[in-house]
Symmetry: C2
């Protein structure tokens, strides 16, 4: 059997090549109809805007809505401009409500309002309601399409009810059980419904121990709940317990990926909103703030060095070792922080015995620092033909790495205690500190032993 993903990849490549060469025959059309909307979206994301609009127009209408929801959000406005009024109605009729709300939120207010005025009033109202929630909250991620049944029905009656409701709802695995005022009483998995006695009342077979969220809860917390409790969907309720909507696991995977990208971008100081094809000026706006912070923090290290200009003039070789010591102390600290942050995440705020973990890191830093300091100190000593040079370089390296390890382990604990999020992204403040410590250690010890180094 040929690997199916291999086959899909070949088909995508084939379509890409045909598009690039401007080939335009019916075999291309047939191939498009065979691809999954997610594959079609992948092709569009690789094209430039005009070619993307053109390609979107060739996708068979039944596949268009799902393809649209899968393409990169930067492309939405452009793709919709190429669709006529009738096409818009068909598209938004087929889109899931949460996807429709996400797409409209990316358009200009005027464009969004115009589209809302053209689609079915009830749907339009629901989409507008979804758009009022913060995009990164549970309310912003949920859809209002779900299957709900009254608690007093029997299992057989519930099956009839969901045969009616279920045709319009995609991917439901859970039925929500409500009372007459719409309050969520419990949930019923389809598998439980199927294996139950048909005469049993829904309220006797439903599960009442249901993890639920308010619409204001942050999407990251929603993702955490899915991961922790192995959920497939989660109901969203208002503060009175009334069922508002549900969030499904496919949205959660997208959330986790978006949050990871956000974290990586933040860590490098790139604005998370920076677009793939930003102009140089947009890039400037996105990245300059972080670089100015780097300028200030590295300036602090420079201030330290400036105090020792005279020492550097007299023992210039020390300038060769300064960046090495700073790099090693910095990396030691980042390693210790990475582990400490993970430990905090595992213990979920219950940090155990912080003193013990600090001592362990200090011991490890002392051990690794010892090995590397001997290597570097020997190099300095042999090069300069002076044991004192070796001792100054090796000794300050050892101290810098031991302090770096301890400081790196202590830093997230400190942030956590102060109520800040101890993310690894705080590493710039970490290395500012280790840079200053390193420069200070190397230069004060060189100044102190100055007469022996000359």
């Amino acid at each position: 059997m040929q690997d199916q993903t291999e086959q899909t990849r070949e088909r995508i490549e084939w379509v890409r090549k045909a598009l690039a060469q401007g080939e335009d025959d019916c075999s291309l059309e047939a191939l498009i109809a065979e691809l999954h909307p997610a594959d079609l979206a992948e092709i569009i994301d690789g094209l430039d805007e005009d070619a993307g609009v053109d390609f979107f127009g060739r996708i068979p209408p039944p596949l268009r809505a799902e393809t649209l929801s899968e393409v990169d959000e930067e492309a939405w406005a452009g793709l919709l401009e190429g669709v006529d009024e009738q096409g818009i109605q068909a598209l938004f009729g087929a889109l899931e409500l949460d996807d429709a709300a996400d797409i409209l939120a990316e358009l200009s207010q005027d464009d969004a309002r115009e589209i809302l005025s053209r689609i079915e009033p009830e749907e339009s109202r629901e989409i507008a309601a979804l758009m009022r929630y913060d995009e990164e909250s549970a309310g912003g991620v949920m859809t209002t399409e779900l299957v709900r049944v009254p608690a007093r029905l029997t299992a057989d009656e519930a099956i009839v009810a969901l045969r009616h409701q279920g045709r319009e709802v995609r991917d439901f695995h859970t039925i929500y059980v409500v009372d007459d005022s719409g309050n969520l009483l419990g949930t019923l998995g389809l598998q439980n419904l199927l294996v139950s006695d048909g005469e049993a009342r829904v309220e006797t077979i439903m599960s009442t121990d249901v993890v639920r969220v308010l619409p204001t809860v942050d999407q990251e917390e929603v993702a955490r709940l899915f991961a922790k409790y192995n959920l497939v969907s989660i109901p969203v309720v208002d503060s009175d317990g009334r069922l508002l909507g549900r969030i499904t696991v496919d949205d959660v995977i997208d959330i986790i990926e978006a949050e990871t990208t956000e974290d990586i971008f933040r860590q490098s100081g790139v604005d998370e909103e920076e677009e793939t094809f930003a102009t140089p000026l947009e890039i400037f706006r996105s990245r300059a703030p972080w670089l100015l912070i780097t300028l200030m923090t590295s300036g602090l290290g420079a201030l330290v060095i400036a105090q020792f200009e005279d020492t550097i003039r007299r023992v210039a070789f020390i300038a060769v070792f300064m960046p090495v010591v700073a790099a090693m102390a910095g990396n030691t600290a980042v390693q210790a922080t990475t582990v400490a942050v993970r430990r905090l995440a595992l213990a979920k705020g219950h940090s155990g015995r912080p003193a013990r973990s600090l001592l362990r890191e200090l011991a490890a830093g002392f051990l690794i620092g010892g090995l590397i300091s001997v290597l570097l100190g020997a190099t300095a000593g042999v090069w300069q033909g002076s044991a004192s040079a070796g001792l100054v370089v090796g000794g300050s390296m050892w101290a810098a790495m031991s302090l770096g390890a301890t400081w790196g382990a202590a830093f997230p604990l400190l942030l956590d205690r102060l109520g800040f999020d101890p993310a690894v992204s705080s590493s710039v403040f970490l290395t500012t500190m280790t840079d200053m410590i390193s420069f200070l250690l190397v230069l004060t010890s060189a100044t102190y032993f100055l007469t022996r180094l000359l």
Copy 2:
């Protein structure tokens, strides 16, 4: 309505406090029975080993299997040692087969074999078969517990069949349709089964366009397929198309989280296997290799500086600005790389117009570099009271940042072209290069203008 997660957190805190204070009354037992296994696992992960074993013993037997599968894998061996033979049989009878295989894989071979000999032969065989797959492959993640029906059944007959099979299978949302030799023909969602005519044959209502994987596929690729196609489960088939098992979305969320941790750890040069409570010697083994690489790469920068000892001796103030220029060029490069890596990931190997994106980064680097170089150059000029000092520092900064941006954007494209994975974690080789370029630019320009700087 009180937020439910708030309430859970309070309960967990209450249990933790009671345990820490050695309180031991029945209210604690009652509270334990009310918590979700994932919450119980969270409590165990926060305790030290002895207290964890003690607490595990107090969990009601029906909750133990799921709690065990949720605790951190480092704790498995310790917790199982505290369980008697009867308890082991009950535990492994209740565990899902993939979880059982994962747990046994963490024990010593002897312990695993002993446990396998004590549990039901059929289950034991299936677990042993799962253990043969690589832990991070589709085969290692899948479970063999699933619901399968022959294609020739009617919908009503299929419901009867799954009432029989379904009692032992947790969380199934999809029925797998097979032919008489066990080959996978298609899938049938429970929701489609429920809304179908009872007389319809399964083969006429099943979906045949099923994304499937071989057991040897890497778990990261499995996660990518779930994310791309919005899957809730995926069937695993052998090369003849025979159905072997299924992977469910809750495992995939765990995979994504594990891969993220792995990436973060790798990026800081911490071995991904480093345990939470590693001894200093284990920490040494996990982190020393990366620090030795850092030593070598930062040593290359030091070699550059060493060539200019004489310049530094004569214009020592230049040593103050070297680390600043290096830090700025390095961060500019890391920002450009982060964006380039994401662009590559979005385009999935279809890099579009690399030349255009390099030009855009060069322009942005030139723009941001210009602003920052004026700031830094002015500082240097005023401090040293010399326009030449300002020009040397500002000019080399500008060049270093422009080159850093271009090199940072080009680096992942180059790695990708050469067939390597262009992860952000390659940033150490990036900054080695920017350090060397920075030192070289600052020091050669200072040497060139030496007479004007004195």
